[in-house]
């Protein structure tokens, strides 16, 4: 977690340690940006690493922040858990300036976090990491029967789908009736 600052304030983060850079030293000083997730822990990430995320890259391009401004205004991703954002930041740092090899050994392995990771990666628009995550999801059902797939991918049965649909209709009906009653009350 060398790229992470374990601070909690998003206003003025202390100087975090940076991730190990690639052997070739950049000719111009690299700019850094700051991101935090739900846990408010701020991560310092180089612009090069953040290029993997189309969303953040777009934000950077549009904002034209100086490093000072960037430090004072970390990008908030309140919808992403801290540990998930950490995984994403680590991956971006490891793959800074290089494409992901087909068999990437540096990719996150935590299966139990896969769902949250997929949502985060999709939100941040990190295409290569998303493809890898999707490969893992696809691999889960290799050689499995429909019943096993249903369990692994948490797919409701037809009966469960029908029951849920009935329930939704019932709820919608009740809500509509409630609204009608309220409207009638207002009219009186």
């Amino acid at each position: 977690m060398s790229s992470t600052e374990q601070g909690t304030s998003s206003a003025a983060p202390a100087e975090p340690t940076t991730a190990p850079e690639s052997a070739a030293a950049p000719e111009v000083p690299e700019s850094f940006y700051y991101v935090h997730g739900k846990d408010k822990v701020v991560h310092k990430v180089s612009a090069g690493a953040l290029q993997h995320s189309a969303l953040i890259h777009g934000m950077i391009s549009n904002l034209g922040y100086t490093e000072e401004q960037a430090k004072a205004n970390p990008f908030p991703f309140e919808n992403i858990d801290g540990d998930i954002l950490q995984m994403v930041v680590d991956w971006c740092n490891q793959h800074k300036g290089k494409p992901t090899p087909p068999e990437d050994t540096n990719l996150p392995k935590q299966k139990e976090k896969l769902f949250d990771l997929v949502l985060a990666v999709n939100y941040l628009e990190i295409k290569e990491l998303l493809t890898y995550c999707c490969k893992q999801v696809a691999m889960m059902v290799k050689g499995k029967s429909p019943e096993e797939i249903r369990e692994i991918w948490m797919i409701p049965t037809d009966a469960e789908d029908e029951a849920a649909e009935k329930e939704a209709k019932k709820r919608a009906g009740k809500e509509a009736a409630g609204e009608t009653a309220a409207a009638a009350g207002d009219a009186k």
Binding site: F115, L119, C134, A138, V141, I149, I155, P156, D161
Partner: protein, 341 residues
Amino acid sequence: MPFPILRTPFVVLSEVISLLEPNEIVTASFCSKKVRRLLRKQHQRRKPLEWRLYMIQQECWGQVDIMTSRNDEPVTVLSAKHISEASNESEHNLIQMNEYKRGFSLELPVLYFEDWETGSEMIVDYAADLFNLDVYGLEIDRNGIWAIDWINNRQEKMLRSLELVENDLYDMCGDEELDYILTKDTCASEYYILKETVSDDYRFDGKLGPARHLHIYPKGHWVTLDNLMNFDFIDIQVEGSTLSVPDLHTFLKHWRAGGSHRLVYLKLDFQNDTNFENFERELELVEKANVVDDRVSEEEMADWIDGLTIQRMDGVKATIHLDIRYFVLIVWQSTIFQKIL
């Protein structure tokens, strides 16, 4: 660790589906009606044009194979069998559905029917609908002849490839079935692969084609000179041929005069040794063809061109290679030839 796939955004779901093999897609489609609808929509929206659906119908079972650009070989996605085979085959408990029992064996769903013919139709309809594909190819033994008309009636596009295979369980010959295919107006638009055994005195006296490929093996003894001249194909390959040297001379005269105009590649493997001594004496040999094709090495091209060169009346050249057991004619019509290579 479970993964609630239906709660993922559409982009993720689409990406995962695109990474599944065809057999996994079919298997997943049996999870629920909702998943099937979703997979179906996905393939309607992003039609995988390069995918090909094959129906294989033999003895008393049927299966559907899908060929994709990712795989060298077709992948079997679904099979239909008679209910009597269910008990000793399925690795999982059978699930009773409306018209069949569903099992799962060797990584694919197997549907068991009382009537396997209906079952075969049903699995083809199921897969064709799921992948939004027409049936591209049909592989049958003599019991599956009915499927030719069934397919050509169920879809607008004609069957592209037809393969009639031998059925080892029968001693008798498949003359009647082969005759049905040969005498029918058109069964397939591209490939005819005929592997059925027919009797020694079987003969066919009609025309066949137009299509692209005609492969007859291993028993092509029934192919006569007239047949050869009346086959309208780009690529003809016959194993077990009984054509004689005089037959070949007659055929070459016919070709030089403009007959079999679409032919680009002819290969005959003879049933018996053939004496080609002084064969070239009756040919009007010309200089080698000058052919350039970037996709093949110069050595390979030299091998092909280095033979007996003859010329058609319109100037198109052809090279003949021969041996006691084979006769090959390569016609240098570049644009068509390149499609065959």
